[in-house]
C-alpha cells in the first residue's frame, strides 16, 4: 500500500503569481489544496507611523503608495478625511474633476485586474491587451498632473491644477472607446471556453462568508451583496450622478470577473455625466498655508477599486496628525483566501488569488 502525505508549498514571496511580495503557505494533498495561509508583511513600510511625523499636506503622497494602481482613489480618501476634520469646503469643479480622476483610475485598476488574471490563467496575451488600454488612462494622468501612477493630484481642499481642455477632450475620446474595448475583451477572453471553464463555479464565496469576512468592493458585490460606498455615502459629487451597481449571483471567480467588467462600463458612464455637466469655477478651496485642524478625530471612507477604504485621523491641534489608521480593503478581502481555496486544485489558488485582486502595497501598508 502506497503511503501518501500532505506537504506545504511556500508560494512566494518570490513567485510570479503573487502580484508582489506575498507568501501563501499552501497545504497540498497531491494537487488538491487542504489549506492556504497568506503570510503578509513583506512590503510593510510603516506608512501609518510615517504619517505621524509629516504635515497633512506631506501625508498625501504616501497614500499614492498604498494602492499604487489606483492612487487617485487613495488621495481622495485621505484628502476628504482631512477636509472633514478641518471643515474645508471643496469647490464644485474640483469635486467633478476628482470624480473623473477617481473613476478613470478605477478603470485603470480593473485593467490591471484583467491583465494579471489572464496572465495567471496562462495567457500572457490577455495581459498585454489590458495593459495597452491602461496605458491610455496613464497618458491622461500624465496630461493632467505629469505623473502616471503615483499621481498626487488630489490635494487637501481641491485638486493640484485645473483640468486642461486637452485632458477633457482626450478623456471624452477614451470614454467613447470603452464599449469597443469591452467588446474586444469579450472576444479575446470572456467568450473563451477554457477561460470560462476555469472561472465558472470555482472558489465560491457565499453571501454569508463574504459578510462574515467583512469583504467589500467588487468581491462582495460579486457574492450578491449590494454594498457600494459611492451609493451609500454619496460622498463628493457622487450623489449627482446616475449609475448602477453591478451585482453577481453566486460569488464564483466568474462573477468577480464579470462584476468588474460591468463596473468599467458604469465608471465610463459616470465620467461621461461628469464631463457633460462640468461646472466652471475655482479648483482649490482657501486652505491655510499651515494647516492646523482643530483637536478631534474624523473617519472618512471611500469606495476605492478594491473596496471600502477608510481613513481615521486623530488630530491634536498641531500641524501633524496624531494618529492615522487606514482601513485597507485588500487586507480584509485577502483573509477569505483560505476558505476560497478549500477543496480546489493548485491552479485554482492562483485564480482565486487573482480574482480577490489584492494589492500588496495596500495589504501591508
Amino acid at each position: 500500500m502506497a503511503q501518501t502525505e500532505k506537504f506545504v508549498l511556500n508560494m512566494g514571496p518570490q513567485h510570479p503569481s503573487t502580484h508582489g511580495v506575498l507568501q501563501v503557505q499552501v497545504e497540498l494533498d497531491g494537487e488538491n489544496i487542504v489549506g492556504a495561509k497568506p503570510v503578509m508583511g513583506y512590503l510593510h513600510r510603516g506608512i501609518e507611523k510615517l504619517m505621524e511625523s509629516r504635515t497633512y499636506a506631506q501625508c498625501v503622497p504616501y497614500t499614492d503608495r498604498l494602492d499604487y494602481v489606483s492612487a487617485m482613489n487613495n488621495n481622495l480618501g485621505f484628502c476628504m478625511a482631512v477636509e472633514k476634520l478641518a471643515a474645508i469646503e471643496v469647490p464644485e469643479r474640483a469635486e467633478y474633476i476628482r470624480v473623473i480622476c477617481a473613476e478613470l483610475n478605477r478603470i485603470a485598476s480593473h485593467h490591471v485586474f484583467i491583465g494579471s488574471l489572464t496572465n495567471d490563467l496562462g495567457s500572457a496575451t490577455g495581459m498585454i491587451y489590458a495593459f495597452r488600454d491602461r496605458e491610455k488612462i496613464l497618458d491622461l494622468f500624465n496630461i493632467i498632473c505629469g505623473a502616471r501612477m503615483t499621481a498626487h493630484y488630489i490635494r487637501i481642499g481641491g485638486v493640484a491644477a485645473d483640468a486642461q481642455e486637452e485632458f477633457l477632450r482626450d478623456t471624452q475620446a477614451f470614454v467613447d472607446y470603452v464599449p469597443a474595448m469591452l467588446d474586444e475583451y469579450d472576444r479575446i477572453f470572456t467568450g473563451n471556453e477554457i477561460f470560462q471553464a476555469r472561472m465558472k463555479g470555482t472558489s465560491i464565496i457565499t453571501k454569508e462568508t463574504a459578510l462574515k469576512y467583512s469583504m467589500s468592493g467588487p468581491n462582495i458585490r460579486a457574492s450578491g451583496v449590494d454594498y457600494d460606498i459611492r451609493k451609500i455615502d454619496k460622498y463628493g459629487a457622487y450623489g449627482k450622478f446616475d449609475f448602477n451597481i453591478p451585482l453577481g449571483e453566486q460569488g464564483d471567480n466568474w462573477d468577480r470577473y464579470i462584476v468588474r467588467l460591468k463596473e468599467i462600463q458604469e465608471s465610463a458612464n459616470i465620467i461621461q455625466q461628469a464631463l457633460d455637466n462640468m461646472p466652471e469655477g475655482p479648483v482649490m478651496a482657501k486652505v491655510p498655508k499651515v494647516l492646523k485642524p482643530p483637536k478631534g478625530d474624523a473617519y472618512h471612507r471611500v469606495e476605492n477599486t478594491r473596496g471600502e477604504l477608510g481613513f481615521y485621523i486623530v488630530s491634536d491641534g498641531s500641524t501633524k496628525p496624531y494618529r492615522v489608521h487606514i482601513r485597507r480593503p485588500s487586507f480584509v478581502n485577502l483573509q477569505a483566501l483560505d476558505s476560497m481555496c478549500q477543496g480546489m486544485l493548485l491552479a485554482d489558488a492562483v485564480t482565486a488569488f487573482a480574482t480577490i485582486d489584492p494589492l500588496m502595497g495596500e495589504v501591508d501598508c
Binding site: 506537504f7 508549498l9 513567485h15 510570479p16 503569481s17 497531491g30 494537487e31 489572464t118 496572465n119 495567471d120 490563467l121 496562462g122 495567457s123 500572457a124 496575451t125 490577455g126 498585454i128 491587451y129 495597452r132 479575446i188 477572453f189 473563451n192 477554457i194 477561460f195 471553464a197 476555469r198 486544485l345 493548485l346 491552479a347 485554482d348 489558488a349 492562483v350
Partner: protein
C-alpha cells in the same frame, strides 16, 4: 525510381564516395554520418530561428513590436540570447540527486533528435525508412516524459516535483487517444512505413479522409510538445517552470532547445501524416513544399498557444479520456466501415 533534387544530390555524393572508398558498407556509414549531421544542424538552426520567430509572432499577436534592437530588425536576437545563456552561472542547487539532475536535460534532447531520422523530407529522402516507422516515432516521442520526471524528482524542489508528476498524468491522458487517432491513417495506408504514408497521400491528403483524427492529433500534439494551452508541466503561474525551475544557463537552454525541436517535430508530423508531406504542385520541389507546410503548421501551433489560457490538469485529463478517446475509437470504427464499403464497391 525516386525523383527530386535532394535525392539525386545524395545519389551523386554516394557515387563520388564509392569511387574513392569502394567498400559499400563504409560508404553507407559515411553517408549516414553526413545525413545525421545535417539533421542535427537543422534541429539546432530551428531553435535559433524559432526563438526569434516565436518572439516575433507572439509580439505580433500581442500588438507589440518584439525584439528589434540586436541586428537589423532584431534578427540577431537569438544569437544574443545564446551568448547570454552561455555566459550564465551554472548553479547546482544543494540536496539534489546529482546524476539524475545532470542527465535530465541531456536525455531530453536524445528523443527529440532521434525522431528526425524518421521524417521523409522529400521523395526518397529519409534517413531510416523502417517498416515500423510510425510505431517507433510514437514510442520515441513518449520517452520525453522520463527526463521530465527525472528532472522534477532530482531537483529537490516541490514545484519541480509537481511538474514532473503532471507530465506522467498528462501522458496517460493524451498518448492513448493519439495512438488511436493515428490508427485510422495506418488502416488507410496499410503500412507503418513513413514513406508509404506520404506516398498514400499523393492523390488526396489524409486531412480530408481523416478529419476527426486530424483534430485529435492537433490537440494531443500540443499536449505532447508542452505548448500552451496545455503547458501544464511548466505552468508558470502556479509552478514557476515545473521540472526546469532549478536549472540555469546552458542546462536550461537544453530544455528549450528540446522544446523548440519538439515544436518543429509536431509541425513536421502534422505535415507528413495529414497534409501530404512533400507532395504539392510541380512548380516547387518537394522539400520546399514540405518546409512551407511545416512552417504553416508551426505558425498555427504558435497562434493557438498565444491565444488560449491554460487548462487545468483535471479538465485536461477528463478531456483526454472522456472526449478525445471516444472520438478516436469512433474514428477507427468509421474508417473500418469506410474501407469495407470502398472495397465492395
Amino acid at each position: 525510381m525516386h525523383s527530386g533534387i535532394l535525392y539525386s544530390t545524395a545519389q551523386a555524393l554516394r557515387e563520388i564516395l564509392m569511387s574513392f572508398v569502394g567498400i559499400p558498407i563504409i560508404v553507407d556509414i559515411i553517408m549516414t554520418v553526413i545525413c545525421a549531421t545535417i539533421l542535427l544542424l537543422i534541429m539546432a538552426t530551428s531553435a535559433l530561428v524559432f526563438t526569434l520567430g516565436e518572439r516575433k509572432i507572439c509580439a505580433f499577436i500581442q500588438v507589440r513590436i518584439g525584439p528589434n534592437r540586436v541586428g537589423p530588425g532584431g534578427l540577431l536576437q537569438s544569437v544574443a540570447d545564446m551568448i547570454k545563456l552561455m555566459d550564465k552561472e551554472d548553479i547546482v542547487p544543494r540536496g539534489i540527486d546529482k546524476w539524475l539532475w545532470v542527465l535530465s536535460p541531456i536525455l531530453l534532447l536524445v528523443p527529440s533528435a532521434l525522431i528526425y531520422a524518421f521524417f521523409p523530407f522529400d521523395d526518397g529522402v529519409i534517413l531510416a525508412d523502417v517498416n515500423v516507422g510510425l510505431f517507433l516515432l510514437i514510442a520515441i516521442t513518449s520517452q520525453t516524459i522520463l527526463p521530465f520526471l527525472m528532472g522534477g524528482y532530482a531537483s529537490n524542489s516541490k514545484y519541480s516535483l509537481i511538474g514532473g508528476m503532471r507530465t506522467v498524468a498528462q501522458m496517460l491522458g493524451y498518448e492513448v487517444p493519439m495512438v488511436f487517432a493515428l490508427m485510422g491513417i495506418v488502416m488507410l495506408t496499410g503500412s507503418l512505413k513513413m514513406s508509404a504514408i506520404v506516398e498514400a497521400q499523393s492523390n488526396v491528403w489524409f486531412i480530408v479522409l481523416q478529419p476527426l483524427a486530424f483534430f485529435i492529433y492537433i490537440v494531443t500534439a500540443l499536449v505532447e510538445s508542452n505548448r500552451p494551452p496545455f503547458n501544464l508541466v511548466e505552468g508558470e503561474s502556479e509552478i514557476i517552470a515545473g521540472p526546469f525551475t532549478e536549472y540555469t544557463g546552458m542546462r536550461w537552454a537544453l530544455f528549450f532547445l528540446a522544446e523548440f525541436s519538439n515544436l518543429m517535430c509536431i509541425g513536421i508530423l502534422t505535415t507528413t501524416l495529414f497534409l501530404g508531406g512533400w507532395h504539392g504542385p510541380d512548380f516547387l520541389p518537394g522539400f520546399a513544399w514540405f518546409w512551407i507546410k511545416t512552417f504553416i503548421c508551426v505558425l498555427f501551433y504558435q497562434w493557438v498557444g498565444w491565444t488560449f489560457p491554460r487548462l487545468r490538469i483535471d479538465t485536461m485529463l477528463s478531456f483526454g479520456w472522456k472526449v478525445l478517446l471516444p472520438i478516436a475509437l469512433v474514428n477507427v470504427l468509421l474508417t473500418g466501415v469506410g474501407i469495407y464499403i470502398y472495397n465492395i464497391m
